[in-house]
Amino acid sequence: MARTPSVSRQLVFAVAVPLVLSFALTVFVLNRIFSESAWQALRERLDQEVISLVSAAELTDSGRFDVRMADSESRLSRPRSGQYAAVRNARGRVLWSSPSIEGVAVDFGAPVTTGRSYFTRARLADGTELAILNRGLEWDYAPGNTANLVFSVAEDLTEQNARLQQFRNQLVAWFAALALLLLAVLGGLLRRVLRPVHRLEQEIAEVDSGQRAQLGGGFPRELAGVARSLNALLRSERARIARYRDTLGNLAHSLKTPLAVMRAALSGGAPQRETLDHEIDRIAQIVDHQLQRAATSGGVTLGQQTVPIAPVVADLRVALLKVHSAKDLSIDAEIAPEAGFSGDVGDITELLGNLIDNACKWCRGVVRVQARLDATRPLAQRLVIHVEDDGPGIAPEDRNRVLGRGVRADERASGHGLGLAMVADTVALYGGELHVGESPTLHGACLEVALPGRALAASVLTSAG
């Protein structure tokens, strides 16, 4: 059997993994958006520069191409400022370059065809990264005369890259901190929620080692059922062990008397057969009686499957027709198909066997068995069974005596009269009810027994059909 992983560990993983994954995704997406936006802003700025260059471009009096730099403080004027510009002709010859280019070898890349624009990155010889915008434009230097020129602007990306990196670092740091905080909080919450489970674990270990007799209360709804059932099981097992001990004790004690009588009979010369026979009968009765009491499952309904009544009665009917073969009997069974007993199959077979056997012994020729579920009665008495016969019946003054232990209603009948007493015992153990009365239709005895009952599951019914 594979080891099932701990609930706590499963919960932690179930929460932590999606949390970390979604945080990582968020960081990635946010970073992307920020980078894209920064890059876009840069492009627009460079585009603006190109436009101002175009408007500042002119032909000098001597016919030379020049760009009038009005603002001597602008970045393009200062050498090595980080922003560079140049104008080239269609073949790539530099017509003008900004003062800032002095001493810096900037390769603006291949000239771009007129009307097109090209935005890219490049690296200088010393490793600095640049963003370069090339635009091919038609410039009229005189009315009717145009030239195809390429205007280029480049900007040092070092500062931008540094800002982006800083953003990225901060993003990761904050989200990591947030994730850890959340995990810590969740861990604490889980621990609190699972505390009853750990308590249950611990209390069961204590019951196991004998330090504790029962589980405590105060468990949450989901665990309360388990705790209650476990306690019921513990109680019934202890009761059963106590009953076995009692039974063996009673058995041992009560056997001593007939054994003593037999010993006395044997030691006094020729033993009388009747004495020995009688004591053997007595021993047999005692053993029967005590073992009957020990054999009943004790009225435990926990974990008992529902026993279908119809097959039990059908089997008993066949058995009893054989056992009472000297009589012309009919045993009529009217059993509701869904009638089920919540208890041990041995107990209900013994109980019904005794009831129907008794009816067969006393009847003239007809025995009727009815069983059904009565939804108006509580669960412990839902299964209602009637066993009627057309015999002499049980007189009201005898009814209590018949249910008493070891007492026969009529000495004439075969068998030791323990049968009905056993029925009364079993009914009491299961918390049911037993009534002795007269059958209105057959005019003999009518015994009504109410026991814990449940309807059989539909699947069981269809397979038996």
């Binding site: 008993l316 056992v323 073969s325 012309d328 009919s330 041995g346 077979t349 013994e350 066997g353 005794n354």
Partner: protein, 229 residues
């Protein structure tokens, strides 16, 4: 009568053998399930006493095997386990009666005598003659699929007639099947039972399953067919 005794407790086995032989029967004794099966299959046994708690093969298993091999002699189960659940198990497996230990020998004798008379042809679970179907395991009868309630004597009569469908069965033979002691016999009882059977099986007088042959006995008129299911 030839009686098979299968019991692993030596003292008990010898005691039974001794008492049964003294009563005039021929006895075969076996000490475990396998020996018992061999004896049951090989010898012409009339009735068997079988203990349930046997070594090598349980008593229940032995009974089941004897029945499925076609042995229909009466089986009396002898055992200390006498809860109804155990009795039902034994009788469902194919036994005919049950005696709990410790027992009185006269009781065993009486039950054996009864078994000798009424040993059934248990081997075929379903008997069918025309629309009448008899389930020997459940001891129920249906006519055209509808259940018919019979008393145990009516059932036994019908079972015997159907087992020997087409043969004439005398009143004497039928009486012996029902009653254990001769003085309880009443010659009218068979007629009453046959009349009741006819009323219950054939209320509209269509099938006429049982024929009376004056001075000779009764016979099932319908041919026995292989039962479905």
């Amino acid at each position: 009568m030839r009686i098979l005794v299968v019991e692993d407790e030596a003292a008990l086995r010898e005691s039974l053998k001794h008492d049964l032989t003294a009563a005039g029967h021929a006895v075969d004794a076996a000490a475990d399930g396998e020996e018992g099966l061999y004896a049951g299959l090989e010898y012409p046994i009339d009735v068997a006493i079988i203990d349930l708690g046997l070594p090598k093969m349980s008593g229940l298993e032995l009974i089941r095997r004897l029945r499925s091999a076609g042995k229909s002699f009466g089986v009396l189960v002898l055992t200390a386990r006498d809860r109804w659940q155990d009795k039902v198990e034994g009788l469902s497996a194919g036994a005919d009666d049950y005696v709990a230990k410790p027992f009185h020998f006269p009781e065993v004798q009486a039950r054996l005598a009864a078994l000798l008379r009424r040993a059934s042809g248990w081997t075929t679970p379903l008997l069918q003659c025309g629309p009448v179907v008899l389930d020997t395991r459940a001891q129920t009868v249906t006519v055209h699929g509808a259940a018919v309630e019979l008393t145990s004597f009516e059932y036994r009569l019908l079972e015997h007639l159907m087992l020997h469908a087409g043969e004439v069965i005398s009143k004497t033979e039928l009486t012996e099947k029902l009653y254990e002691q001769d003085f309880e016999r009443d010659s009218n009882v068979i007629e009453v039972l046959i009349a009741r059977l006819r009323r219950k099986l054939d209320p509209d007088d269509e099938i006429k399953p049982i024929e009376t042959l004056r001075g000779r006995g009764y016979r099932i008129t319908l041919a026995r067919t292989a039962a479905g299911e």
